[in-house]
């Protein structure tokens, strides 16, 4: 029994991504068509050359028909997948394994979410009929549980803690301001972030990711076939995914300053990719900054910072676009927006641009290895995904 990984066996040969944001004039169908055709064109491939599809969406449709119907995909396998906010990454993982296994030659992973039609604030998810006892907390409240626990454990007074969270949101807006596809393309002054209306103290509205519509897609082939389609593909070094046993809400040992699921996926992915020192070896990372405390904790779980020190790295600019390890150079969920099913593939889209030197004003100098991290759920009860990708085989 082992998680062996598929290092360098699969390559991404084309990607597409819509602008994320409030697409009042577009439904999920339109977003899927736009992202899929963007990807076809990127790979210079005919739609008929795709052998199989994996579609990720949490609530913008059910079954493969959600994709095959608007795109008129003729009699091909289309699988709808769902894994909460890691849905887009899950679609990619399935497509990669499908071509690696030899079952198909060319596969597309595509994710979509149309959130702005609900009429509600924030995210809304349907629950199966239940006994009325599960806590009905909103996502910002669930993730805000991290803040007091982290502050207390590492001796940050609430003001200092708020500085750290504010700095994370400020950085991601700084990056998003350099991204023409981001939902929010403006830098935001720290004071505005700090004083934004409270949603789940200490989180204000500016500590939360953007509620957004959007779609993103990737086309994958076996690495040995990549040169047929593309001069500079990117290579999958590692794919790791876990669903946790949801112990956090049940066991006193869990202290709300870490995501054990993220530690598990990071450990697995680094082993697959042969990374021994992520702080030094990872050139850039797209991580799941659904709320600012999440990014803070993730940077420790992913091994970018030692336990209890990510807050110092944040304040010192270590994760800035110009820092030693840029985190969320595309603006992250905070500024690029978070159309759930698309987000994991949007993270990969930034790897596609950065590793190929196509990221424009936010291009990082000569990146070699990129990491995406995507999670769904709540602290102590979540699913987590980590990928490592690179511009070269080996």
């Amino acid at each position: 029994m082992a998680s062996r990984g598929i290092k360098d066996r699969v390559a991404i040969i084309g990607m597409g991504c819509t602008r994320f944001g409030e697409h009042w004039d577009k439904g999920a169908d339109d977003l899927l068509i736009d992202a899929a055709y963007d990807a076809y064109e990127s790979a210079r491939i005919d739609p008929n050359d795709i052998d199989a599809y994996w579609l990720g969406t949490t609530g913008s449709g059910v079954s493969g028909l959600t994709l095959s119907e608007p795109l008129k995909i003729p009699y091909k396998p289309v699988t709808r997948v769902e894994n909460m906010c890691a849905t887009g990454s899950e679609a990619l993982r399935q497509a990669c394994y499908a071509v690696a296994s030899g079952a198909y030659d060319v596969a597309m992973a595509i994710g979509v979410e149309k959130l702005k039609d609900s009429g509600f604030s924030g995210l809304v998810s349907a629950k199966p009929p239940n006994d009325g006892t599960p806590a009905s907390m909103t996502p910002p409240a669930l993730f805000s549980l991290l803040a007091p626990a982290y502050f207390k454990k590492y001796g940050l007074d609430p003001e200092k803690g708020k500085d750290v969270l504010t700095r994370i949101a400020w950085k991601n807006h700084h990056n998003g301001a350099r991204n023409p596809k981001a939902q929010f393309q403006k830098e935001v002054p720290m004071e505005v972030i700090r004083n934004s209306p409270k949603i789940a103290d200490p989180l204000g509205i500016m500590d939360c990711s953007g509620v957004s519509d959007g779609s993103a897609a990737a086309i994958v082939v076996r690495a040995e076939d990549a040169s047929k389609y593309c001069k500079n593909p990117i290579y999958i070094k590692a794919l790791s995914f876990v669903a946790g046993p949801a112990e956090g809400p049940l066991r006193q040992e869990y202290d709300f300053t870490t995501f054990p699921e993220v530690v598990a996926t990071a450990t697995d992915a680094y082993k697959q990719a042969g990374i021994t020192n992520p702080r030094e070896q990872v050139s850039l990372a797209e991580v799941h900054d659904c709320f600012t405390p999440t990014e803070l904790v993730l940077c420790e779980d992913l091994g970018f910072s030692k336990r209890g020190t990510a807050w110092q790295d944040v304040l010192e600019g270590f994760f800035d676009l110009e820092g030693r390890l840029p985190v969320n150079p595309d603006g992250g969920l905070k500024s690029f927006g978070h159309p759930i099913g698309a987000s994991g593939l949007r993270m990969m889209y930034e790897m596609w641009l950065q590793l190929r030197g196509e990221a424009g004003p936010r291009q990082i100098n000569n990146p070699k290895v990129g990491l995406t991290h995507n999670l769904g759920g709540q602290p102590g009860r979540c699913v987590s995904f980590v990928s490592v990708v690179g511009s070269q085989v080996g």
């Binding site: 604030s121 006994d131 009325g132 549980l145 789940a200 112990e247 809400p249 006193q252 709300f256």
Partner: protein, 469 residues
């Protein structure tokens, strides 16, 4: 002789200052304050609080019948007593009934339960809760308060014997509320005072004293509960009762707690009574009941878990605006979030002990308590090695917390806490009876049974944490 074996009482945490009403609506500011059920409380949930205490005071009593009394039943059709029994973890094999329609239902239930105990030789439980809603600017809004009380009745280990009782019932129009109406109406006061309260009160009190072969002078403490305080004054005069013997009605601190009130006063008197004391308790509304009790030596060893006095002191204010919102008298714009969904019948039945009784599980292989109850142990992963493990009476400490300003609530922000129970077990739930600025890591909490919300006419009851009272 049958009588009271144990008792418990409950006064909600929130207080509405009567002057706060006048600040909004004008008029002469009333004196004192009244206890008000929080937005997540009702007659059932408060009765559960009182009954849990009463049952703890009689740990060896096997209850065979339960009487729930209130003038404000949450369900018009569906047995409210069944909810009370489930939350108090009473066995399924009991008689249970709701007694309602009048604030007299409280003493009626006490008498029924006494008869049941006498007839069966076993133990009967009474749980009385009330949360009457007077229309703004009205007299009932001023005088009423919310609260609950409960008794265990039996023939053994009795701490106050029911020596005698007398009842009278007459049809007269004084206070009424029809199906579908929110607020009670009242007839002009002099009519009921002269034609009903005074004569009926006098009659039942005289009859009860006579049956108990007692003179007013033999009575140590007199508890008189009437919708109109003037009826009390008149009866004190008419029967030449000693004013110092008349029990405090908590008018300035709690208010008149409807069906619970006479009994609530009784528990307060009992907690200060001595063996040999004789207590008269009487209530008048749609007729009248009077009971004479004799306190036994067993009273000396009995200590209520939450005395009325302590509950009166444990309090926090609510503004009149919030109160009107809680009672949905003042409509407000709903949040841009989905309405809560009604809980489903089959899962509620499957998890009855969990949902209503807060019974989790404990792994017999590794000893880890866990909630909700699990089949596979969260620690050692053994399957189906669990035993039931009740959490309702356990205290815990806050490990971390969240203030949710986005969630649907009549009282935002919702405070959510991660609790680590003393003795093991962790739970993520709402915290109530707490101001948001007081939520803090390390805070000590206890569990309380509440009505989370109502959807499609289904009241969703479950447990929350509250700061230890």
């Amino acid at each position: 002789m049958a009588g009271i074996v144990s008792y418990g009482s409950y006064i909600p945490y929130r207080r509405l200052k009567r002057a706060a009403i006048a600040e909004v609506l004008g008029g002469v500011p009333g004196k004192g304050e009244k206890a008000v059920a929080s937005f997540d409380e009702d007659s059932v949930s408060m009765a559960v609080e009182a009954l849990r205490d009463a049952l703890k005071g009689a740990p060896n009593a096997t209850i065979n019948s339960l009487f729930f009394a209130t003038s404000t039943p949450p369900y018009a059709e569906k047995l409210n007593a069944a909810i009370v029994g489930a939350a108090a973890l009473l066995p399924a094999e009991i008689r249970a009934s709701d007694m309602t329609g009048s604030i007299r239902a409280g003493l009626s239930a006490l008498l029924q339960a006494t008869d049941a105990a006498k007839a069966t030789g076993g133990y009967a439980a009474v749980a009385i809760g009330d949360s009457r809603l007077g229309a703004p600017e009205g007299r009932i809004e001023q005088t009423s308060g919310d609260g609950a009380v409960a008794f265990v009745l039996g023939v053994n280990n009795v701490l106050a014997e029911v020596e005698a009782s007398a009842s009278a019932t007459r049809e007269y129009l004084d206070t009424w509320r029809s199906q579908g109406e929110r607020f009670p109406h009242s007839w002009e006061e002099r009519f009921a005072l002269t034609q009903a309260y005074a004569p009926l009160f006098t009659k039942v009190i005289r009859d009860a004293l006579e049956k108990a072969q007692a003179k007013p002078a033999d009575i140590t403490k007199i508890i008189l509960d009437a919708p109109n305080p003037r009826a009390v004054d008149e009866i004190v005069r008419a029967l030449k009762l000693e004013p110092s013997k008349v029990a405090d009605t908590f008018a300035l601190t709690v208010g008149e707690t409807g069906a619970a009130h006479a009994s609530l006063m009784l528990t307060s008197v009992l907690s200060a009574s001595k063996p040999g004391d004789r207590i008269l308790v009487a209530t008048v509304a749609d007729g009248a009941d009077a009971i004479v009790l004799r306190v036994t030596p067993a009273v000396a060893a009995f200590r209520p878990l939450h005395s009325v006095g302590r509950m009166v002191e444990s309090k926090g204010d609510v503004s009149y605006g919030s109160f009107l919102k809680w009672r949905e008298i003042l409509p407000t714009e709903p949040p841009r979030r989905p309405d809560p969904e009604r809980p489903a019948g089959p899962p509620m039945l499957r998890s009855e002990k969990w949902k209503f009784g807060l019974v989790g599980s404990r792994c017999t292989a590794c000893g880890t308590p866990q909630l909700p109850p699990q089949r596979v142990c969260v620690k050692c992963r053994e399957r189906d090695k669990m035993e039931p493990y009740p959490f309702a009476d356990r205290t815990g400490r806050i490990t971390t917390f969240a203030l949710d300003r986005l969630a649907y609530s009549l009282n935002p922000p919702t405070i959510n806490v991660v609790i680590d129970f003393d003795g093991g077990g962790r739970f993520l739930c709402e915290m109530t009876d707490c101001d948001p600025e007081k939520a803090a890591i390390g805070g000590e909490v206890e569990m309380t049974f509440r009505r989370l919300f109502t959807a499609d006419g289904v009241h969703n009851y479950f447990w929350k944490a509250r700061p230890k009272r």
